[in-house]
């Protein structure tokens, strides 16, 4: 169970965050920008924080005790997910919201 969680959670979180941000963005622009416009960067930041937290748990928490293969796999995927979260989140901070 722990193995399954450690392997699947990080990328799932990326996916949920990414879809959430996309949805929120659509809603934000459809409703004319406010009041959700502060929300978008905040959501990105929260997702990133959660992702880093997850990474820390996988590196330092219980998944350390998994068999070698699952441990390495979950670590790699956690790094991938963190990088993906940051990479796909950056545009929120540098581009105009609804132009």
């Amino acid at each position: 169970m722990m193995g399954a969680l450690a392997v699947s959670l990080p990328l799932l979180l990326w996916m949920i965050g990414f879809s959430g941000i996309y949805g929120l963005h659509g809603a934000t622009c459809a409703t004319g920008g406010t009041p959700l416009s502060v929300g978008l960067p905040a959501v990105v930041a929260v997702t990133a924080a959660l992702q880093i937290g997850l990474l820390a748990w996988i590196l330092l928490g219980a998944p350390r005790q998994l068999p070698t293969f699952q441990r390495r796999l979950s670590r790699t995927l956690a790094f991938v997910a963190s990088a993906a979260t940051l990479w796909t989140g950056v545009p929120v901070f540098v581009l105009p919201l609804c132009a």
């Binding site: 193995g3 990414f18 949805g23 659509g26 809603a27 390495r72 790699t76 545009p91 609804c98």
Partner: protein, 836 residues
């Protein structure tokens, strides 16, 4: 005089005889109708998929004849539209997906060291549905009823206003039935890979192809449901006039694009990953080494699968999404390049460290490399948004797509078929004609599609039947057409060569390629039962570690040697460690899958001809047969743990809390959940994005509905749990069953209550959505009720006991799902009215 066999040979022969009687299908054509064995089913699947490839190829030839000369009068523009739509549809849905499913049904059990797939009858059902659905689509085309809206069927072009007649319906219903079969195969693959393996095959020791197929199957379970939803919405709009895609009434055609590409982009990887899995399997053997960076490759496959879902909107760069939205998807597009690169480096590294031999499979893999690199480059060009705008909808896109599909998929699949041919035919391929075929195909391919890239850059639009002589495209198009014919000849030679090799080549010895994985541990051609005994393995390449393993397996050294209990048995293992956990008892030959496929297809296809009554009757037939199907498995007495060999005593799969059916249900519900999630997404999308919202009125929840729903949902969660507990303690389960029944009826009543004063589904997309949400609740209520009745009957007839409580746990799973999604659906429908 008969030769005297040594005691070991004769032991192997005895086992073989026993196993053959238990596992074989009856001889002759009847055998094909009732067989459920993966060898037979896989072969049938493969043959039919190849036939569809030939049909798709013939259509491609028609396209190229038309485009060979300017102002061609070969066919009318309307016919051309039908032909390219059918070419794309046949290739994508009737060839590409089924072909790799066929290979995995054929090969996975051998690779994993087990005797069959987890759900043999489900596999057979999937194949028949595919054959019927696919044939119906082809027949419709021959009758001139083909769809003509392009293989992705964008509304409003595919709506009744612009596509009257039944062409579009043929597409929607035919393709949806094929998706149903793909989901069946995916469920089967996941459960097989996770649980049906050789003893000791931990996750780290799984063959690389099994990892890829696990990932692909999970992708199918999550990517197909949005597409099915999209098709359902479009079909409902066309048949009943519910305006999901009509802007004037609160719909939005962009919703289709989202749902389609939510499927469509992962689809590209769903097609590419099995090919990559095959390369990862074949390349190391051809290079006489082990795959480099196994763990990295697994991680890359998983990452690619998930990241590719972020790409759906990149197909819609040209639809006017804000700049920031585009940036997200440009970011996601560049992201998937990383895992792809990891795989490519792993392959190159494998080649580097090995000593490759140029057998024919290897040659095709090199053909893949050459082609794929170019295809990947043009793909990166397309990920750059301004460039995409420039070449959008030109032959550049068509050429790119074929580089990826033919170079990245068809070539590796040909390599795979050559590589595994000895397993299927027992003969070792001789390659003279095969080499000629290769050297015709690959250059012809490049001629064709390089020319098409060029035509696209010059501005030739796709899906247009003619062009003018002044445009200066004649030479290019003519070359492309010549190339296409040479390409077709090349493919025909490949098929001819394979056919000749299957009947004429000399008999092969065991493991002709000196591979290390278990599928080569069997005698050739692979017998129906696969392994004489389920082996115990200690590494990723068991045959390298122990070359005598095949003989030991044949002599019955391992688990479940022979078939002493006169039924089909194989091992179920712990997912992570591969430790033996249960003895799976598999069903034998059965006509049920074939019959169920007939009624299922009928229920899909009858509406095309307005025969709604037939369709309804067929649906009743589906339910009846499904219940009968379930009834035929299970036991009336406790058998207790059985001897699994090697001193292990294990419970059978009938007497565990998590039988294979439980796992299967869990995965089916995953797909169902994604389908439901997509419905909620569609609702939210229309509400926030579509013009002409809010609707004229919301619906007010009142008190009765929510109370019924809340109470019903609770009872539905509580009832099955009580039932399971009662069965496990040998107590009468009446209360639990009754509670479940009351719960499901109350939930259904709540949905009915909502519709009683609900909005008109034809006047606004909101009304249509509310009806669809209610429909979801009612459908699942009916399913739960049928399962409940079934369980009650089973309990009454003595099919349950504290050991045999798996069926009650399956009901619990479905009831939970019905309750949770039902409450969500009703809340979503009521929420706006409650807050307004």
């Amino acid at each position: 005089m008969t030769p005297r066999l040594g005691p070991r040979r004769s032991r192997a022969l005895q086992l073989h005889r026993k196993l053959i009687t238990v596992w074989s299908a009856p001889p002759g054509w009847r055998g094909w109708l009732v067989t459920t064995n993966n060898n037979d089913i896989g072969l049938l699947f493969l043959g039919v998929a190849t036939a569809f490839f030939v049909i798709g190829g013939l259509l491609a030839m028609l396209i190229r004849i038309q485009l060979a000369t300017p102002r061609s009068a070969f066919m009318a523009a309307e016919t051309y539209s039908q032909i390219f739509t059918m070419h794309g549809t046949v290739m994508m849905f009737l060839f590409a997906i089924p072909f790799f499913e066929a290979l995995s049904i054929l090969l996975l059990p051998g690779m994993l060291g087990t005797r069959d797939m987890a759900f043999p009858r489900l596999g057979a059902f999937g194949v028949w549905v595919y054959i019927f659905g696919g044939s119906a689509v082809i027949v419709a085309m021959i009758m001139g009823l083909a769809p003509d809206g392009g293989w992705f069927m964008y509304p409003p072009l595919s709506s009744t206003a612009f596509s009257p007649g039944i062409g579009a319906d043929v597409w929607l219903l035919g393709i949806t039935s094929i998706e149903v079969s793909a989901i069946a195969a995916a469920v089967e693959v996941v459960v097989t890979v996770l649980r049906y393996r050789a003893a000791g095959m931990s996750l780290a020791r799984m063959p690389i192809f099994a990892w890829y197929m696990l990932v692909v199957a999970l992708m199918i379970l999550t990517a197909f449901p949005p597409m099915i939803l999209g098709s359902v919405l479009l079909e409902v709009e066309r048949a009943l006039g519910w305006p999901f895609y009509r802007v004037e009434e609160g719909g939005d055609p962009l919703l289709w694009q989202h749902l389609f590409w939510l499927f469509g982009h992962p689809e590209v990887y769903i097609i590419f990953l099995p090919a990559a899995g095959m390369i990862g399997t074949i390349l190391p053997v051809m290079a006489r080494t082990q795959i480099l960076g196994y763990g990295w490759v697994v991680a890359a496959a998983i990452s690619l699968a998930v990241l590719s879902f972020g790409l759906w909107v990149h197909h819609m760069f040209a639809t006017g999404i804000p700049q920031l939205g585009l940036a997200f998807f440009s970011a996601a597009s560049t992201l998937v390049a990383v895992p792809t690169a990891v795989m490519v480096f792993a392959w190159i590294g494998t080649l580097w460290q090995g000593r490759p031999v140029m057998h024919l499979p290897m040659l095709w893999i090199l053909g893949f490399f050459a082609t794929f690199v170019i295809g990947g480059l043009t793909g990166v060009m397309l990920a750059i948004v301004p460039f995409d705008w420039q070449v959008h909808d030109t032959h550049f896109i068509v050429a790119h797509l074929h580089y990826v599909l033919i170079g990245g998929y068809v070539f590796p699949m040909i390599a795979a078929v050559y590589y595994f041919l000895p397993l299927l035919t027992g003969r070792h391929p001789q390659f003279r004609l095969g080499r000629i075929a290769f050297w015709v195909t690959v250059p012809a391919f490049h001629l064709t599609f390089l020319a098409m890239h060029w035509a696209g850059l010059l501005g030739q639009r796709r899906r247009i039947a003619t062009y003018e002589a002044e445009q200066g495209w004649e030479a290019i198009n003519f070359s492309a057409s010549i190339g296409a014919f040479a390409l077709a000849i090349g493919f025909a030679l490949v098929i001819l060569d394979l056919g000749l090799n299957a009947v004429l080549a000399p008999r092969s010895r065991r493991n002709p390629w000196a591979a290390g994985t278990l599928e080569w541990a069997v005698p050739l051609p692979s017998p129906v039962y696969g392994f004489g005994a389920i082996p115990v393995i200690e590494g990723r390449a068991p045959l390298d570690m122990d070359p005598a393993l095949p003989h030991r397996i044949a002599r019955g050294e391992g688990y479940l040697a022979g078939a002493d209990r006169h039924r089909r048995e194989t091992l179920i293992v712990d997912t992570a460690t591969g430790a033996p956990a249960q003895v799976a008892v598999l069903p034998g030959n059965s006509i049920l899958p074939f019959l169920l496929a007939i009624v299922t297809s009928l229920s899909f296809l009858a509406p095309l001809f307005g025969a709604h009554l037939v369709s309804a009757l067929a649906l009743v037939g589906v339910a009846g047969l499904a219940v009968f199907w379930a009834w035929t498995s299970g036991r009336k007495v406790d058998e207790g743990p059985v001897d699994a060999g090697l001193g292990q005593i294990l419970p059978t799969s009938h007497e565990v809390p998590d039988p294979p059916g439980w796992w299967g249900s869990l995965l089916l519900l995953l797909a169902d959940g994604v389908h439901f999630g997509s419905l909620l997404f569609g609702y939210a999308f229309l509400w926030t994005i579509a013009p002409n919202w809010p609707p004229p009125s919301w619906i007010t929840p009142g008190l009765v509905g929510p109370i019924l729903a809340g109470g019903g949902g609770l009872a539905l969660m509580f009832g099955p749990r009580r039932t399971v507990r009662a069965i496990s303690r040998s107590q009468p389960p009446r209360t639990g069953l009754a509670l479940t029944g009351v719960g499901v009826l109350a939930l259904a009543a709540a949905a009915g209550w909502m519709l009683r004063n609900g909005p008109d589904p034809t006047s606004h997309a909101f009304g249509a959505t509310v009806w669809l949400l209610a429909g979801h609740v009612l459908l699942h209520a009916v399913i739960t009720l049928i399962m409940l009745g079934f369980l009650a009957l089973r309990i009454w007839r003595g099919y349950t006991s504290p050991r045999r409580n798996g069926e009650a746990r399956i009901l619990q799973l479905w009831a939970d799902f019905t309750a949770v999604t039902g409450l969500l659906a009703l809340t979503a429908a009521w929420a706006p009215g409650a807050f307004a």
